[in-house]
């Protein structure tokens, strides 16, 4: 596919996903990451969280290139829809400057698009999503961005993760994260600052940060840099992930799936010296 061979040459678009349905949100993140034309800087479930994320990224000077927003989003605060978010953001930014993110509407019907374009939406993505549709939308966005004055001379910021702590959002640098854990579709992220909730599946996170993180278990995705200990007890293999060895208060113990134990062990050892093999 052309997109694939072209992909590495372009700078991925910093993308925010706003979608209230869990499978749809993860699916879109996976598709966006797989296209290699975008990097997902956050995936949130409501318009309020989206606003907060856009403002926070803007305040840090990183900016968000594009926002994929579901038209039928149900804001918890009331009946605010995805379109209301677009309307308010484009009006706000239109007066402040030309750095408004490009909005792409995720919708079941293209007839919605005409009205959406008037509000400042630049493209739409039809449901069900497919990788072709996502790739095409992203390429149109890339073309559009080329047409706009190029503002980024500065190096790109490191990707970050947006998590939730009760009702507020937390922004985490990748190196701060020890591990992601999922249980019954509730994903949490373990860090030195505490444990936070995340509105993404492990698969979606893996799609975004697969190089830094290792899937050691169906329920665990671990930051390889922070693995401090590999312990074996009969058939069981466990990892200790944290800042310092052995201090259980500062770190997490992570089970390793039996079928992945060998691969994890050799991957860890491949980058380390000192242990006698065998």
């Amino acid at each position: 596919m052309i997109a694939r061979s072209e992909a590495p040459e372009v700078l991925p678009l910093r993308t925010l996903v706003v979608e209230d349905e869990w499978p749809a949100r993860n699916y879109l993140v996976e598709l966006l990451e797989a296209s290699r034309l975008a990097e997902v800087v956050g995936a949130v479930a409501s318009t309020d969280q989206a606003r907060e994320a856009i403002q926070a990224e803007g305040a840090l000077g990183l900016g968000i290139d594009c926002v994929f927003v579901d038209v039928q989003l149900l804001g918890q605060a009331g009946s605010e829809t995805g379109l209301d978010l677009v309307r308010s953001m484009t009006q706000e930014r239109g007066t402040a400057g030309n750095d408004a993110p490009m909005f792409v509407l995720a919708t079941a019907f293209d007839q919605h698009a005409i009205e959406a374009f008037e509000l400042g939406v630049v493209d739409y993505l039809l449901k069900p999503f497919t990788d072709d549709r996502v790739t095409q939308a992203l390429r149109r966005l890339h073309d559009r961005r080329k047409a706009r004055p190029i503002t980024d001379g500065q190096p790109r910021a490191a990707p970050r993760i947006v998590a939730r702590k009760r009702r507020s959002l937390v922004f985490l640098e990748l190196h701060e994260i020890w591990a992601f854990e999922t249980e019954d579709r509730l994903t949490s992220v373990h860090t030195a600052h505490g444990t936070f909730d995340l509105d993404l599946s492990l698969a979606a996170i893996e799609a975004s940060f697969g190089r830094t993180f290792v899937r050691v278990h169906r329920q665990w995705l671990v930051n390889a840099q922070h693995i401090k200990e590999l312990e074996r007890d009969g058939d069981e293999t466990r990892l200790f992930v944290g800042p310092a060895l052995g201090d259980d208060r500062k770190g997490v113990r992570v089970p390793v799936a039996r079928e992945r134990a060998a691969a994890v062990r050799s991957a860890l050892l491949a980058n380390a010296t000192g242990l006698r093999r065998g």
Partner: protein, 392 residues
Amino acid sequence: MSGDSLPFARPYGVAAPATGEPQAQASVSARSVRSQRDHRVVGVAVVLFTVLLQTTNQYLSGAEAARVLGHLGFLGVELPSILVALSLTYATLKRHHVGARAAVGLTVAVAGTLGAGFGVLLWAVSLRYPTVMLRPLPSFTMARGMLYGFSLGQFHMGLWALAFAFPFAIDEARMKDLEAEQLRSAAELARLRAHLEPHFLLNTLNAIAGLVTEEPREARRLIGCLGDLLRDALHDDDELQTIHAQVAWLQRYAAILQARHAGALDFEWDIASDCQSVLLPRLLLQPLVENAVKHGALRRQGGGTVALRIRWTEEGESLLCAVEDDGPGVPAGQVRDGAFGLRAIVRRVELKYPRATVALEDIVGDGGAREGTRARVVIPKQTLDVGGARGT
């Protein structure tokens, strides 16, 4: 439903009224106003004609002019009074949904009492002005006057029924049929929309596409649920369905919504076992469940629960179906987006079960705080088809 008539910002799944329907209803009511006026004119004409005939008859049979005029004067007072009184009685009876037998009894009583009163009045007047007496009988006593008035009242009631009540009754029956027909097709549409509501369908397909790689079993389960819903939508059977079957459908519908809003939505099913085989109109409760999810449970911070409870009331006289949510509810005076769905249910229930009620109420906790919203449908047992065997 044409695409451009769909309001863009409408939250998904809120059933939009079929475009043809409001106009049709408006034209029905306009027609009914016009026909009411026409009927009244015809009624007055019939009454005048009858009075004229009667007077002519009297005149031709040789009564004196003074007597004829006196009688005409009496009719001029008595007849309009009785007609107005009967019309008012009729309107009141209709407002209170009084049955036909009781209504006839009451109108007979009103006409008789009023007529008798006028008879006594005639007797009193005749004491002073003997010429107004119908016949110069010395035996025209008060009792006779009363009897005369009573029978005249009955006769005029017959006249009233023929001239006023009868045409309206025929018209009303026709309108009711017409409205029932319209609602049946609207309900049909709503049912199709609910089953195959395109947003619901497309969003579900999207969710399944998302689950395929990571959670294939879950994806297969959802495909199964969706298939069941679609199959049921293709069913072109009669309008009734057992509660058992309706709940089974709603549970699949709920399973899909639950998978799509993972962690944010829970369901509780509390169906009394002695209600399972009761027959209800197909998918009657679906709009209530949809509203409770969309405007209730999903609006609650951290996720909410929708509960469907079906049981007989304590006295066992009525079936109670309640759909409860623990969402923030609707601020006073504000109409929920799903108002159309609720209205459709109200009409559907009203038409099928004349004495049933549908209400939306706040759930208030022990401390007096608002804890959610409850939609209640109460249907009297005697109007229900309780169903013999437990079917699907």
